[in-house]
């Protein structure tokens, strides 16, 4: 029998929180994946504990995972409708994310004195202590004891039983959202295929958790979330960093060359190294280098040898790699440099998100050293962005810096698996043996200014490249006119890439006089804010930049149309400053935040309103 009180919602946000050992990331992932399978759009955001080795139950050890599911989903959501708290510390750290009137599900077995003390509660009634007793719908569930009872006959040890608590709680959440258990069971079956005992235990507790909800909490209203018809195709759930890795693999496959990653571990970029290291059977080479410099240099060596050379890092690593990026600019070799941005400067906030590396990537090298800079806008867009970055690098023989960030890299959404021929072809700009008589390493295409690269091993095309300035025949030169010309040629090569990238697309109201702009990982938040305000009748246009160097050809034409331009970014206004230097006669207002956190949609809304009101 279906629960009589069902709330129809177009979207809901659920936040799973617990100790870092409580398996919240897994519970959240199962919930979001099943939602996606059922036709919801999803967006997720894992929030890892601040301290890696914090004691169990302490405030520093809280880990959480926020999932936004619904008909049209741009971001993991500012605040949640449902909060799951597996212990008092999780409650304390996460209650601020719960909307007023939201549902708070907590494991009542952990709300005992010892655990409350670890979470630094002074009394035994944390709800009154925090003044939230009547702000939320409190749903206490005996997760720990029920899990024990559920697995009493299995003979599993206490530790293994405790590890199943997350799945019991998940079963309860499945009931709350009227989600079919079958899909979760399929997920668990493939996840624990090699551990039948754990699989059986998890299948049992998820069912018991679900039934517990149905039997015990008939008075709580449950949800049904609207779905939307997605583009037909086969989908999978990916995190941004994995999507980046897959985009690179797809590019190497389509170009018919090998993928080589040289990388040194650094949060939050390391998952790209992890993902690609798993894919050796797809002919992917990964080298965990001795340092950042070696990471990029091995990639440059591989690129010289004809591979798709890639290095992945975060801000501090870009700083170390800048001299080598300059070498790739000078030697005109294809190279993809991925910067998964985190909070800076220096070691900064390693696990948090920011957009503060933009200027470093555009200008942070000695000499006139132009290269392509682009940015991914959503976790799945990391796939396309990595693909396109590779395509440009290989077809124009230039380094391309791709900016993503901690929010995109760790967040997930559903990727439509591309059909073999649906991606644009990639044709590396290389010279072939039949050109032996006329080959010159720095001869250029008169329109694109691209030089052809000769690959070692090709008979007759032996030549030298390097970091010293050279003339068009490849001979070292310090001649002032030659240097001037080569500087201009290298710049012209990058500028002409504007002709092969898409124009800037304007979304929103045609008759708006305010345009909201941004770049990279803030796309979801800005879009949600713009749509919310438009739904209230505010006339707004929006444009989001994927290409930063070079800018789309219509950038100036678009921006000059608007009375107000509001640029939102997670730094002190770096993109706004860059745009001002590139587009004459525009006045840009800024909404900037540098907190290590994604924007809150309502903050962007407020910023927009104040601009619109003037």
């Amino acid at each position: 029998m279906e629960n009589p009180k069902i709330i129809e919602a177009s979207e809901v946000v659920v936040r799973f929180s617990g100790d870092s050992g409580d398996g919240m990331q897994l519970a959240g992932t199962i919930f979001s994946t099943v939602a996606a399978i059922l036709g919801n759009e999803i967006s997720t955001f894992p929030d890892y504990p601040a301290e890696m080795r914090a004691p169990r139950g302490s405030l520093g050890g809280v880990s959480s995972f926020q999932v936004h599911v619904g008909k049209k989903v741009y971001t993991p959501g500012d605040q949640c409708d449902v909060l799951v708290a597996m212990n008092p510390a999780a409650l304390k750290q996460n209650v601020k994310f719960l909307k007023k009137g939201g549902v708070l599900i907590y494991d009542e077995d952990t709300f005992v004195q010892s655990e409350l003390a670890k979470a630094k509660f002074a009394t035994l009634d944390p709800f009154t202590e925090m003044g939230i007793a009547d702000k939320y719908q409190l749903v206490g569930v005996p997760v720990t004891e029920s899990t024990k009872a559920s697995l009493a006959d299995t003979g599993m040890d206490a530790k293994s039983v405790a590890r199943c608590r997350n799945i019991f709680a998940l079963g309860f959440v499945f009931w709350l959202f009227n989600r079919p258990l079958k899909k979760a069971e399929e997920f668990l079956t493939s996840k624990f295929a090699k551990k039948p005992e754990i699989l059986q235990a998890n299948l049992k507790v998820i069912t018991d958790g679900y039934n517990y909800g149905a039997n015990t909490h008939a008075s709580v209203s449950t949800y049904r979330v609207e779905t939307r018809k997605a583009e037909p195709g086969i989908y999978c759930d990916v995190k941004g960093n994995a999507a980046t890795a897959y985009g690179l693999v797809a590019a190497a496959e389509n170009a018919g060359i090998r993928l080589f990653l040289g990388s040194y571990p650094i949060t939050p970029a390391t998952d790209i190294l992890h993902e690609l290291s798993k894919l050796k059977f797809l002919d992917v080479i990964t080298v965990q280098a001795e340092d950042e410099v070696s990471g990029i240099c091995t990639a440059i060596g591989a690129a010289f040898g004809g591979a798709l050379g890639v290095t992945s890092t975060s801000g501090p690593g870009i700083a170390l790699k800048s001299e080598a990026i300059g070498l790739a600019v000078m030697a005109e070799l294809p190279l993809v440099v991925i910067d998964v941005m985190r909070g800076g400067p220096s070691t900064g906030l390693p696990t948090k998100t920011e957009q503060t590396d933009l200027m470093q990537c555009i200008y942070g090298r000695n000499g006139e050293s132009p290269c392509v800079v682009m940015a991914a806008s959503t976790p799945v867009d990391c796939f396309n962005a990595a693909y396109n970055a590779s395509k440009i690098a290989l077809e124009h023989n230039t380094p391309v810096i791709l900016l993503t960030d901690a929010f995109l890299g760790n967040g997930s959404s559903s990727l439509r698996i591309p059909e073999p021929d649906s991606l644009p072809p990639i044709k590396p700009a290389i010279a072939t043996a039949d050109m032996a008589d006329s080959y010159e390493p720095y001869a250029r295409d008169p329109e694109t200014f691209v030089r052809l690269k000769a690959i070692p091993g090709t008979e007759g095309l032996m030549h030298r490249v390097g970091g010293l300035e050279k003339d068009e025949h490849g001979a070292i030169s310090t001649n002032p006119e030659v240097h001037q010309k080569m500087v201009r040629n290298r710049q012209a090569k990058i500028d002409s890439i504007a002709n092969v990238i898409p124009e800037l697309e304007v979304m929103g109201d045609a008759d708006a006089d305010t345009i909201v702009i941004g770049w990279g990982g803030t796309f979801g938040h800005i879009s949600a804010a713009v749509e919310n305000l438009r739904a209230e009748g505010v006339k707004l246009a929006q444009a989001h930049f994927e290409y930063i160097v070079p800018l789309p050809t219509n950038t100036s034409e678009v921006l000059r149309k608007y009375k107000n331009i509001l640029c939102c970014e997670l730094n002190n206004g770096q993109f706004a400053a860059y745009l001002r230097s590139k587009v004459e006669g525009i006045s840009i207002k800024e909404f900037n935040e540098v907190k290590g956190q994604p924007f809150q949609i309502r903050d962007i809304e407020e910023a927009i309103i104040s601009v619109v009101k003037g």
């Binding site: 399978i37 997920f187 018809k229 997605a230 037909p232 195709g233 086969i234 989908y235 999978c236 897959y246 797809a250 496959e253 080589f260 040289g262 894919l279 050796k280 059977f281 797809l282 002919d283 080479i285 080298v287 280098a289 001795e290 070696s294 240099c297 091995t298 990639a299 440059i300 060596g301 591989a302 690129a303 010289f304 040898g305 004809g306 591979a307 050379g309 001299e323 080598a324 300059g326 070498l327 030697a331 990727l415 698996i417 591309p418 073999p420 000769a454 070692p456 091993g457 090709t458 008979e459 007759g460 095309l461 032996m462 030549h463 030298r464 490249v465 390097g466 970091g467 010293l468 070292i476």
Partner: protein, 315 residues
């Protein structure tokens, strides 16, 4: 180098010469091969990437004492540790030539240069010690200008699978003229150096009457015919011995902690191929693992891989 390659029958098109920055690193421009003149200290890392991506090529790295052991020191020890199949020619002039004469990590303690007008107050690296200490599998030493033995060392380097270091003792006439003369000066060379050859007894000296023996833990110089010593009593060079201790001792002969101050010792400096042992080369291991993993996983394309995971279809 060109002669070594020609003698080995390796085509210039199959060869890449990667260098860093320094006087010595200009070499690629004099070679009709593929080449890259890179940035200071990073030639080895670039050569590593090239060799891993293209194990079919013969890859050289040409470097200087500053390029290789100062700014590039980290890449050097890790290249040794990984045993990547590169041929590294290290031109050791004990000075920064290109930047006009500052002391380098191989300069002897007390050396007066432009940046050490009162003499240096630090000890040098001995490249062999660093190489072997970082688990290097091949080390040779030759005097720049001794073409015959340089070619022998380079050919042996190419023949060795793994990281091969050939240290060339060379002279910067402008900023450190005569820096190796205690051992290379033709007047003393025969007595101050010994050419090690695999399988041959360790004999040296102008009159070829001196030899080396092991005395407890130490190598000792002896005179043939004195105290009943014959050729049979001498050490026989075994470059293929896996245990590095004797190689290290041989390589360090003549090097006191202060550099060649020890060249006044009785022991000569070792030339030739000092160490040449087999090990798993990194590039081969990388390629081998890829083949091995292919045997375990069915997917050959990204699409096959993604379709084999958790997916759902929207119709």
């Amino acid at each position: 180098m060109q002669r070594a390659m020609a003698e080995l029958g390796i085509a210039p098109s199959q060869t890449a010469v990667i260098s860093g920055i320094g006087c010595s690193s200009r070499m690629p421009y004099y070679m009709n091969t593929y080449g890259m003149h890179t940035i200071h200290g990073r030639g080895l890392a670039i050569a590593t990437g090239l060799k891993v991506a293209r194990p079919d090529l013969t890859v050289w790295n040409v470097t200087g004492d500053g390029d290789c052991l100062a700014i590039g020191g980290n890449h050097f020890i890790h290249a040794m540790r990984r045993n990547i199949d590169l041929n590294i020619i290290l031109f050791n002039n004990k000075i920064y030539g290109l930047t006009k004469g500052q002391y380098s990590p191989t300069s002897d303690r007390g050396l007066v240069t432009k940046s050490s007008p009162w003499g240096t107050v630090e000890d040098p690296f001995c490249p062999a010690e660093l190489c072997i200490g970082a688990r290097g599998t091949f080390f040779a030493r030759a005097i720049d200008g001794d073409i015959k033995n340089s070619i022998v060392a380079m050919k042996a380097a190419v023949g060795h699978k793994g990281a091969s270091v050939v240290e060339m003792l060379c002279n910067c006439v402008i900023f450190a003229d005569g820096i190796h003369k205690l051992v290379t000066d033709p007047a003393v060379r025969a007595d101050k150096t010994i050419l090690l050859e695999d399988g041959k007894p360790m004999i040296y000296g102008k009159n070829r009457d001196k030899g080396l023996v092991l005395d407890g833990w130490n190598i000792k110089s002896v005179t043939l015919g004195e105290n009943g010593i014959t050729e049979k009593d001498l050490l026989v060079h075994d470059a293929k011995m896996a245990d590095p201790i004797l190689h290290l001792k041989l390589a360090m002969m003549g090097y006191s902690p202060y550099g060649y101050a020890g060249a006044t010792d009785e022991l000569p400096i070792a030339l030739g191929v000092i160490r040449n042992v087999e090990g798993i080369s990194y590039d081969e291991a990388v390629a081998g693992q890829i083949e091995e993993v292919k045997g375990k996983k069915k997917a050959r394309t990204l699409r096959e891989l993604l379709l084999s995971g958790d997916t759902w279809e929207v119709k």
